[in-house]
Every structure is written in C-alpha cells, then in structure tokens.
C-alpha cells in the first residue's frame, strides 16, 4: 500500500543506497544504536553473561566451603594504597575475639597483618567452560588462602563467601532465564505461528487457551507444580524441571507477539508476490516472514527474560524452586528471608543489587529493541 505514496528519488546518494539495500536486521540495528540507554543496557547484559561464562574464574573461594568460625563476617574494606602511597591494594586480615559476656564472636581488622591482592592468583581447582582444568582466579592473596582473609561481600551464617556464591548464583539464575525463554520461545513460535497462519477454529482454541492461562494467578500454580518435585531429585533434575514449569506458563506473551506478526505479514504485498511466484509455504515462512519479524522476536525475548528471572528467584526464595546445594539468586536471598537474619547480616541483601540491575537492563534493552524493530 505504501508503494503508491513513495516519491521517486531522482538522485540516489551513497547513504540512501545503503539504506535501500539494507536488510531488515541492519535497519533495526541502525535504529537501535540511536537509543543510548538501550545500548548501555545491552552492554550491561553482555557483561552479566560474561560473568555466567567466567563465574568460577571470578569466584575467589570454593562456594560450598563452610566454616563456623567465619560465620557472618561483614564485607571487608579494600585499602588501595600502601603506607608509602604506592598503589598496592590490600586487605587487613581479621582477628576473631570472643566476647566473654555474650559469647559472640567479634571480628576486628588487624592493621599489622596486611594481605596484598594478587591478580590471577591460584585458588581452588575448577573447569573453565567445563573443559579445561585450572586453578587461576581473577584475584587472590599473596599470603594464606583467601578463605581465611578475603571477604569482599562478607560471609553468610555458615561462613561461606558471599562474593563467590554470588558469581555462581548469577550463572544459575541467568542460564535458567535463558533456557526458560528458549523453551517459551519454541512453544510461542510453534503455537503462535499455527494460530496466526491457519486462523479459524484452531486459532480460536489457542487464543482461548492463552486467555485462560493469563487469567490464572501464576505463583500458586507454580508453587503447586514445583512442590510435587520429589525431594530425591538431583540438582540438575530440579533445575530442568523448574525451567520447564516456568516456561510452561511463560510462553503466552511470545505466542501473542508471533501470532500478531503472522497476521500482519499475511496481508503484505511481498508475501503475496512470493506466493504468486510459486514459493513453498515453508520457504515463505523462513525466507520471507521470519527475517522480517526476527527483530520483534529478539525484543520479545529480552522482555521475557526479566519475567523468567523474577519467577525463578521468587520460587527459590520461597523454598520451592532450586534447593541448596544449588546456588541461585533466590537461594541466596532465602538466607535473608526474615528480619533476624537481615538485622544481623544486612549485607546478605546485597544479592538483590545484581538482580535489580539485570532486570532493569533487560527491560531497557527490550524496549529499545522493540522501538527499533517497530518504529
């Protein structure tokens, strides 16, 4: 329909030439680059996924190593400059002293015992990418093991290092989000595509199912399903089951987007042209339709990610999602569930900061992508 209004351009400049020849994705990318906030958010999301890849490298102590003597140590101050003013980051080793009246253990930094931070130090053994066995971690100490002296974000009740656990939790929570979105996307494209492509009775049925699913409160449903997972299941089994449960209910929004695009595209001239040219149905879908709404899908995915992350965190927080020894944001926040815990160890709430940042970044990124895909 827009072909009639488009004016003839007599002299085509190089730039216009580029625009005319650009694919849908390239156009979207150019528009996206103009959204500052979205670009910054995109970088933040990429950084977080780098943490996912290098979680063990960024951790400094084995995340499961417990020690009652290190219980509830507050976050430690890092001193950047040495006495002579040279740049030598170090921390003070802690000296525990028991209060003989209350029998509570108090920790005091000992300024005479300086431990200097070392880049790429040796620590516990792990497998990078699950393949290469290595001991290198991003930082360590020049003397002693980091378990005894390095508490960047403090420790929890069992004396586990919050920083190291946070790194591994990021890996779990963000991959669950991604896998969950992947599953939802599969269901969404399949059912939304069928719905939009065939229309008629099958469309009505799928639309009603979506409406019904959307009108049921999700948390009670998730809780009910998650509670049925046997206690004997391993961490991996629970992980897979929780991902499936979350995506079983999360696909509706993606299906709606896909169906809407299919409906809109069905009427487009270029689809008609492809049909008249004798292209097969599959070719039309994958060669002509999907590329033109790929950017919508990407936007929908990045908007669906926060919902997935919140779902997993909430379920685990309530104790019906991932269970220890699994480490996820929800599991970590479970330690801060009651007032007593956060009154004694407020730093346990720090885990909330990356949760909020990731969710915000994904939302801004998704918004920017959506605007870019659909100007």
């Amino acid at each position: 329909m827009s072909t009639l209004v488009q004016p003839e351009i007599p002299f085509v400049s190089a730039a216009e030439d580029r625009i005319a020849a650009a694919t849908q994705l390239e156009l979207t990318w150019w528009r996206f680059r103009k959204h500052r906030l979205a670009v910054v958010s995109g970088i933040v999301v990429i950084l977080f996924y780098l943490i996912v890849i290098f979680a063990d490298f960024l951790a400094v102590t084995p995340p499961h190593s417990t020690d009652a003597a290190r219980s509830y140590i507050p976050p430690q101050a890092v001193h950047w400059f040495d006495q002579d003013g040279s740049f030598k980051p170090h921390v003070y080793a802690l000296k525990g002293r028991r209060d003989l009246r209350t029998f509570k253990l108090h920790y005091a930094p000992d300024p005479t015992d300086r431990r200097y931070l070392v880049w790429f130090a040796e620590g516990y053994t792990y497998r990078l990418f699950g393949i290469f066995e290595t001991k290198t971690h991003i930082i360590g100490l020049d003397r002693g093991v980091p378990e005894d002296a390095l508490f960047l974000l403090g420790t929890d009740q069992l004396g586990r290092d919050v920083w190291s656990r946070l790194m591994l939790a990021t890996r779990t929570s963000l991959t669950i989000g991604l896998v969950g979105v992947g599953l939802s996307l599969f269901l969404g494209i399949l059912l939304g595509g069928i719905s939009g492509l065939y229309g008629g009775a099958i469309d009505t049925v799928i639309q009603r199912v979506i409406e019904i699913l959307r009108s049921i409160p999700t948390i009670p449903l998730w809780l009910g399903l998650a509670a049925a997972l046997p206690n004997t299941w391993s961490v991996t089994q629970v992980y897979i089951a929780i991902t499936v449960i979350i995506s079983l209910i999360g696909w509706t929004e993606l299906a709606r987007v896909v169906r809407g695009r299919f409906l809109a595209l069905r009427e487009e001239d270029f689809i008609m042209a492809a049909e008249l040219a004798g292209a097969s149905r599959l070719r039309i879908i994958f060669r002509h339709m999907v590329p033109s709404f790929l950017s919508h899908i990407i936007a929908a995915v990045s908007l669906a990610l926060p919902a997935m992350i919140i779902s997993e965190t909430t379920l685990s927080f309530l104790g019906l999602g991932l269970r220890p020894p699994a480490i996820s944001w929800g599991v970590l926040l479970q330690d801060a569930q009651n007032l007593q815990a956060i009154a004694i160890a407020p730093w346990l709430l720090l885990v909330a900061v990356p949760v909020v940042i990731v969710i915000l970044a994904c939302s801004f990124l998704g918004d920017g992508l959506r605007d870019a895909a659909d100007p």
Binding site: I216, T218, I219, L223, L318, V355, V356
Partner: protein, 330 residues
C-alpha cells in the same frame, strides 16, 4: 450487548473448569494416594487409623476408581463447600482457610485501588507534560517498581523499617486484635495496616499502567476535538480532564484482567515475607508438608476469585465504554 456478556460468562466458566482440573492435578501430583499420606501423617503423630476407616475414606473419594470419577467426586463435594480434611491441621480445609481468604481479597483490592490511585494522576501528568523532568522521573520510578521483585521490596522496606524507625512492619493487625473477633476497632486496625502491603504490591503494577495511560492520553490529546475545546476557550484542566482523560480511561479498566492475577500472585509472596494472615503462608506450608487438599483448595479458590474479579471488571468496562455496549470493537 447480551452476546458480549454471555461470551465473557462462557469464557469465565471454561476458565473456572480449567482451574478446577489444574487444582485436582496438583492434589494428585505427589506419589501415592492421599489416604496413604493421611495415614502416614496420623501415625507419625501417634494416632492410628483402622483399616476400615481407611477403606471408608478411599470409598468416599473413589480412590479405587478411574481418575475422572475421582475428579467428579471431588468437584461435586467442592461445589457443596466441602474441600476435604486438612491433614496437617487436623481440621476441615474450610476452617483452616476461614478469614484468610477474605483478607487476601481485601489486600488484593486495596493493591489495585492504590495502583489506580498512583497511575492515574501520574499518567495524566506525564502525558500533559511529556518529556519533562518529572515525566522521566516517574518513568524511572515505575521501571524500578517493575524491576524489583515484590518480595525484595518487602524485605528492603522491612529492613529499613527496622533500622530507621525500629518498627516491626508485618502482619495486618496489631497484637491486641490478632485473635479478637471482628469488631469496628479491628476493622480500623486492618485499614491502618493495609497501606504498606498495598503499596508494595501496587508499585510493580503501576509502571505498566502509567505507560498505558500516558500513551492513550497522548493519542487523545492530538485529536481535533481537543483543539476545538481549546479554541472555544475552555479552561486547560477542563479540556484535559473532561474529554481526553475519559476516553483514555477505557483501556485502564480493561487492564484489571491482567492486573488481578498479577496482584494475587504477588500477595502470596509478600504475605510470606511480611507474615500477613492471608492464604499465602498457609499455601506454602501446605505444599511443603504435602497437605494436598488444603493446597488444592487454595489454588482453586484463588483462581476462581480472580476469574470472578475479571468478569466483574468486564461488566464495569461495558458500563463505562459505550462502544463495547454497542458491540463495536475498536
């Protein structure tokens, strides 16, 4: 108009049926039938169940028959208001739930009212003063509300309430009213405790509503009738409030359909954190202890109440939007 009502009613009934099936599935999910669990539970607490008693229970719920017969027996008892026994509490489920269901409803409705109360003026302001500093500020706050999971917000507020004001924010009643029968004073006490949970629940839903309101109002403000009203010399606030806001309000009411499930879900979570006497903590405990009749009943009741609420909002929508009444979609 009648077709519209019937259509919505039909969908509501189908949804309720679907919810009942899901609740039944949840009851059935744990391994073994519930009589086994019941007996195990009772013997753990010392009392014994005779073989006869167990057989009677099995017969009552048709556990030896096909699944759909079991479903039918269960649902026909539920319709009569009998949700079965709660194993953990040793009392009928209806007694355990009691007031808690209504308190859940009260908290949810309060949250929706607060959501509207915040979103409406801010939405109008953001549209009228588009791209102003306050517009950006509200958008940012809304986004943060969207990004912070309910339970986190509750935790943080609880922490600051404790640190800054030495308050124990939690519960819906003061200590002296906790077990007291309903009275005027208890109701007032409830109203005093409501704003905090309502605000926490509202914040996450507000962002979306503000953006819907803002977008709708911006569309309306560009219409020629607004220019006409201005040209005729109407006061600016009247130009805005009398016509465009009213037109922009329609989708506002329709959002209750998605807002309600969202708020009910949220209320479960924050009730656990703030220890509110709603069905939330009971549901969680029931699920952990595999007290399945209680859990199934709560899932069913919450779902049904949500559907009923959505249906009522459809009726309200029809009442305020003449286009729907006339059967015009658009």
């Amino acid at each position: 108009m009648l077709t519209y009502i019937l259509q919505r009613l039909g969908l509501a009934l189908v949804t309720i049926w679907a919810i009942s099936v899901i609740s039944f599935v949840i009851i059935q999910l744990p391994p073994g039938d519930f009589v086994d669990a019941y007996i195990a539970n009772l013997s753990a607490s010392g009392s014994m169940v005779s073989q006869q008693e167990a057989q009677a229970l099995r017969q009552l719920y048709g556990l030896d028959q096909a699944v759909w017969v079991q479903y039918w027996k269960w649902i026909s008892r539920v319709v009569q208001g009998d949700f079965g026994p709660s194993m953990e509490w040793g009392r009928p489920v209806t007694e355990v739930i009691g007031d808690r269901l209504w308190l859940t409803v009260v908290v949810s409705i309060a949250a929706i009212l607060v959501t509207w109360g915040i979103a409406l003026p801010i939405g109008i302001y953001s549209a009228v003063r588009q791209y102003s500093v306050a517009d950006y500020g509200f958008t940012l706050i809304g986004f943060i509300g969207l990004a912070v999971p309910n339970f986190l917000l509750a935790l943080v507020i609880m922490y600051f309430g404790f640190v800054l004001f030495d308050l124990n924010v939690g519960g819906l009643f003061s200590a002296e009213y906790q077990l007291a029968p309903w009275s005027w004073g208890k109701t007032l006490d409830l109203i005093r405790h409501l704003p905090l949970p309502a605000m926490i629940l509202a914040l996450s839903g507000t962002a979306q509503l503000i953006r819907i309101m803002r977008a709708n109002l911006l569309d309306e403000l560009r219409r020629p009738y607004v220019a006409t009203a201005r040209a005729r010399g109407l006061a600016e606030w009247r130009v805005i409030v009398k016509y465009p806001v009213r037109a922009a309000l329609n989708p506002f009411a329709s959002t209750i359909g998605y807002l309600l499930p969202f708020v009910v879900s949220g209320s479960i979570v924050i009730s656990v954190v703030l220890s509110l006497p709603t069905v939330g903590p009971v549901l969680l405990r029931a699920l952990v202890a595999q007290d399945m009749f209680l859990a199934g009943a709560i899932v069913l009741l919450l779902g049904v109440l949500t559907v009923v609420g959505t249906f009522i909002s459809d009726l309200i929508l029809m009442w305020i939007d003449p286009r729907i009444r006339a059967g015009i979609h658009g």
